[in-house]
């Protein structure tokens, strides 16, 4: 038990130090713009399908599950605003972040760990490249920038799924559905959700890069590293979400 607590504290310290190195290195040239753009494209392009389909299903499921209760109280007209707020504030960002923690986080950590095991990171270093800048800064920045884009996409697709159910079950037109959604949504719902998405992206990628970069124990370590990265970053998503909700709640009360 004591050794586990000690290990947890050491890992937390190391991830913090790794994050500080990110800010230290990211501020100074050389900047790897080309690789950053490539990573943005890879991260966004490769995740949009999964994020979109999951969001679509979530929108449908949420609407189908909630509808009978609202109908019972004669409150089905509240459906678009309720689903809209739930998706934009909470479900969209958290589900997208969890999908990215699984897909992007495991991918980055396994890729970097395997590069480390096969000495590709050393090869990069002897080629006159700072591997931290080339591999870590680019991936973390790309994830930080792309996660909000994915979240907004997931929100829109999810609302699309929900509107489809409302159209089929309640005869509500697409235009009316989105009018009602936007009547109740305001910047106070959207902005905190986008801000926390940046933090989700940063946390997922920094943990994945840290685990990949510090991987050891050969090829066996690659799988373990990917697994640990997903577990830690998923947990961090919930912690960040909790803190973000606490902070935004203070602003709602003002």
């Amino acid at each position: 038990m004591f050794s586990q607590i000690k290990k947890f504290i050491i890992t937390t310290g190391e991830i913090t130090s790794f994050s500080l190195s990110y800010f230290k290195e990211a501020l100074f040239p050389p900047y790897e713009f080309q690789e950053l753009l490539r990573q943005c494209y890879l991260l966004g392009n490769k995740s949009i399908g999964l994020v979109g389909s999951t969001g679509f299903i979530m929108g449908i499921v949420l609407t189908l599950q909630t509808r009978p209760t609202l109908v019972e109280f004669g409150a089905e007209s509240w459906m678009p605003s309720m689903v809209g707020i739930a998706i934009v504030r909470e479900i969209g960002p958290v589900i997208t972040a969890l999908i990215c923690a699984g897909k992007v986080g495991s991918g980055i950590s396994a890729e970097l760990a395997s590069m480390k095991v096969t000495e590709q990171i050393d090869a990069m270093e002897v080629s006159g490249t700072n591997p931290f800048k080339y591999l870590v800064i680019t991936r973390v920045t790309a994830a930080t920038l792309m996660l909000p884009v994915l979240v907004v996409s997931a929100d829109v697709i999810s609302l699309g799924g929900s509107s489809l159910v409302e159209y089929l079950k309640g005869g509500v037109s697409l235009q009316l559905y989105f009018n009602k959604v936007f009547d109740y949504l305001n910047y106070g719902d959207l902005i905190p959700s986008i801000i926390k998405s940046f933090f989700f992206g940063f946390a997922i990628a920094i943990v994945a890069c840290y685990k990949g970069f510090t991987s050891s124990k050969g090829t066996e370590g690659v799988g373990r590293t990917a697994n640990q990265a997903v577990v830690i970053s998923s947990m961090l998503v919930f912690i960040i979400d909790f803190i973000a909700v606490l902070i935004s709640d203070i602003f709602y009360e003002l």
Binding site: E111, S114, M115, T118, E119, Q120, D122, A123, M124, E125, V126, S127, G128, T129, N130
Partner: protein, 252 residues
């Protein structure tokens, strides 16, 4: 191996110490590499051979001692200065270390672009073709590393090492993991490119045939020090029990 050697030393190592916790890997290793000379470093597994060449290129920081490469003290160099030295020091990794996500062409392009060598596309392409041709693999230009055999990967990695025309090449087990025939081919290839590019070399190997074909001198690394050194024939005839045992073990 009949490279011409001069009396200008390109690597000077004096009393080099390196430990990992309680594991004292190098305990005062001393060694000099002359310009144009090819030296093999032989040692048992875990004797610190790979650590030695990683110290030389600055991948592993040393604990104590003098380490001078091309007139610069490696431990005292800042990152940018180290990168400049690395342009003149090639490194062939044990497992080739080709970038999996890049094609052969992109793998060769990478060091050129990083060191800002000839940014014009035509010249870049010519250099890549020239380097690949020197290892006999011009046809692999657009293949991915996963499509290459172990021997081909080593050859491509060698081409990537040669593309910057380094003054020194560090080979980490160049024939490791290859069958004896391919290993011999690689040894002859190293011999050819060393003569062609007129580079000095430190070759870490277990393979006596490789050491015999490629080097002028063999250094035996034992207990973290330069135990003894000499030509292949001289060491083979040595009656020193450590050297004898070493040759017998490797041969076995």
């Amino acid at each position: 191996m009949e490279n011409e050697t001069t009396n200008n030393s390109v690597i000077e190592i004096e009393e080099l110490y390196k430990s990992f916790g309680d594991n004292h890997v190098l305990r005062g290793f001393t060694f000099t590499l002359q310009e144009g000379e090819n030296v093999a470093v032989l040692g048992k597994s875990g004797s610190g051979k790979s650590v030695l060449i990683k110290c030389i290129i600055g991948l592993i920081p040393i604990d104590q001692g003098n380490l001078i490469v091309l007139g610069k003290s490696i431990p005292d160099l800042k990152r940018k200065e180290l990168d400049l030295i690395r342009k003149d020091v090639g490194f062939l990794f044990q497992g080739a270390a080709l970038y999996d996500s890049m094609s052969v062409k992109e793998n060769l392009e990478f060091p050129l672009r990083r060191h800002r060598e000839n940014r014009s596309g035509i010249s870049l392409h010519k250099k890549i073709e020239e380097a690949l041709d020197s290892v006999g693999l011009l046809h692999t230009l657009h293949l991915m590393p996963s499509e290459l055999s172990g021997g081909m990967k080593k050859r491509v990695a060698l081409a990537r090492t040669l593309i910057l025309r380094p003054k020194i090449i560090l080979y980490d087990e160049p024939t490791g993991g290859l069958d004896p025939i391919t290993g011999k081919e690689i040894s002859h290839l190293i011999n050819n490119v060393q003569s062609l590019y007129k580079a000095s070399a430190v070759i870490i190997t277990h393979d006596l045939a490789c050491a015999k074909i490629t080097t002028n001198r063999i250094v035996i690394l034992s207990n973290g020090i330069n135990y003894t050194e000499g030509t292949y024939d001289k060491l083979k005839q040595s009656t020193d029990p450590v050297v004898e045992e070493f040759f017998e073990e490797i041969a076995a």
